[in-house]
Symmetry: C2
């Protein structure tokens, strides 16, 4: 359980190296490829989706849904796994829990397009990931999946679409992983400097607030 | 500063009423319409975008950008404000900070469509909102804006698009607000039960893990 509320130093090679101190949960989160086979307790898993439930959404539409399976139900797990692209299946099969993030692309009340829908699935999944981090779990989200296969296998209705997949579990020590995965999981986390994406006045002009203060 | 890591009880009418305990920051977050005119310290504002910076994204593309203005620069603030729909301008003008969330819809390296782009803007903004919550700030995100006007005013390039707006600041006491806003800010937060969006086996079948345990 991560309890401190600010982090300025890297406690591991995978910890963010923020230019400003940010909340410890945000700094500690990263997306491993290696998972142990340790099962996720049902109460923890329930809390992850409860966290997603309380995300913000446009008109409170809550346009997200999740299909979930665990290693405890091998057939169900294999069914979700089969919706991932092979390159993701290769590592995600080790995670004890898989989910598909499904988005409702139209408002339920009037069938109008919901321009916020995919964005708001992101808000919900970010909540899920932070709850997971707080519980010592890791989540690796994927866009590489087969939406048509998921529609067929699960009866996903019109105007809904499987958009993401999520592997959920306890991070494996990188030393136990095959070479390619070990390299990915040991690589340092990198990001553009804030001045390359926080602008003021005009596109491309770094906002003064992106400059760390003494 | 919110420091506890779990919340099971409602500490205010706007606190989430989770069926499972979830992290205090996730339970405390909500989107007010009423903001005070208190300025946001530059270091806090910098940390919000730093939190966004460390979000996950597909291929680590980081497809998000933000245009930001504060009350301290009235012309810049008015410019961003003019990109919102009038119904949002009405209340968002009181917030001391406004931002536009801009998404890059194609991968920089190969100009291919990035299906995850809008989702990943959501991941980044969710990080920003959680950092804000940890610092006693509130954020109200909007989809109601004028992307073409933003493109013209800021020179947003092709294959990029303003997708969201964010009002950032300190929540005003609801008692100080005009009637319509007061009602919105005092209304309890509501969500679908988890059994209506967390499924297993087939679409619409509630996952057993959504049932709270004794």
């Amino acid at each position: 359980m991560i309890t401190s509320t600010a982090a300025t130093t890297a406690s591991s090679p995978k910890h963010a190296t923020p230019a400003f101190p940010i909340h410890a949960l945000l700094a500690a989160r990263w997306s491993p490829c290696g998972f142990t086979d340790r099962a996720v307790p049902a109460a923890d898993l329930g809390a992850l989706f409860e966290a997603a439930r309380w995300a913000a959404s446009s008109y409170n539409e809550q346009p997200w849904a999740y299909l979930v399976a665990t290693h405890a139900e091998p057939e169900e797990f294999a069914r979700i796994l089969s919706c991932l692209l092979p390159a993701n299946q290769a590592w995600a099969k080790a995670a004890p829990v898989l989910a598909l993030g499904v988005v409702s692309l139209k408002f339920a009340k009037n069938d109008q397009d919901n321009r916020a829908a995919v964005h708001d699935l992101g808000l919900a999944s970010a909540n899920l990931v932070l709850e997971a981090t707080a519980r010592g779990l890791s989540v690796h989200q994927m866009i590489g999946l087969l939406p048509d296969r998921a529609r067929e296998l699960y009866g996903i209705p019109d105007h809904h679409e499987a958009w993401t997949a999520l592997a959920i579990g306890y991070r494996a020590s990188a030393e136990q992983l095959p070479d390619a995965l070990r390299e990915r999981d040991l690589a340092p986390r990198t990001r553009k400097p804030a001045g390359q994406f926080v602008f003021s006045g005009t596109w491309g002009q770094p906002a003064p607030l992106t400059q760390p203060r003494a």
